[in-house]
């Protein structure tokens, strides 16, 4: 019983830490100072959101939202590659 409560508190703490990590990444997006810092912050924010969804799935004991996490991973990869190409060339598709 006590072990069950400890497990619940540990998972909740993990979620809180991931939330704080997302706030820090959002601060890096807002503060800059240059475009590449903002893109790095956005990439980190995507990865943290994915992890936070996975921890939510574990707490709820349901696989429903896991596909959402996979889609966030795919979209984050595409977004970062497109933004890096934009920084390099000034356009995304040549």
């Amino acid at each position: 019983m006590i072990l069950q409560i400890a497990i619940d508190i540990t998972l909740l703490l993990g979620q809180i830490m991931l939330g704080v990590a997302m706030l820090l990444a959002a601060w890096r997006i807002l503060a800059g100072p240059r475009a590449q810092d903002r893109i790095l912050g956005l990439d980190t924010l995507y990865a943290n959101g994915l992890l936070s969804i996975v921890v939510f799935c574990i707490r709820e004991n349901s696989m429903l939202y896991m596909e959402g996490a996979l889609i966030i991973g795919l979209l984050g990869f595409t977004a970062t590659v497109a933004l890096s190409r934009f920084l390099m060339r000034g356009e995304v598709i040549e």
């Binding site: 072990l3 400890a6 497990i7 998972l11 993990g14 820090l24 810092d37 996975v54 921890v55």
Partner: protein, 115 residues
């Protein structure tokens, strides 16, 4: 998902909780580094702590948890882990190349020297 989820045995929940806590701590440390470090070429190292070890620990926790809950190995966490492991270096190499290109064309002294 259509398969039924049973209650997870206590040892599996303990292992899951410890792994989730470790992964979340590493991710938070990486993000503190992202905020605290001074220039871009130092900052780009910090969040990879969360993108490799954090993702690894938390998805191993998910694999163990859902394996114990459904009785067979879950495919989606394995897919997510493999995908993140493959794509993170690719995106960061592209981003740093773009940043180096910008800094060199502007003559910024922070840019790494030509080899």
């Amino acid at each position: 998902m259509t398969e039924t989820l049973q209650d997870v045995p206590l040892w599996a929940e303990c292992v899951t909780a410890v792994l989730v806590f470790a992964g979340a701590t590493l991710t938070l440390l990486g993000n503190i580094g992202l905020v605290k470090l001074r220039n871009f070429y130092e900052r780009v190292h910090a969040p990879t702590l969360g993108a490799t070890l954090g993702v690894g620990f938390i998805l191993i926790a998910a694999i163990i948890h859902f394996w114990a809950a459904t009785g067979k190995p879950a495919l989606l966490p394995v897919l997510i882990a493999a995908f993140m492991t493959i794509t993170t270096p690719v995106t960061l190499i592209m981003l740093v190349r773009a940043a180096v290109y910008r800094d060199r064309t502007e003559g910024n002294p922070e840019a790494p020297k030509e080899i």
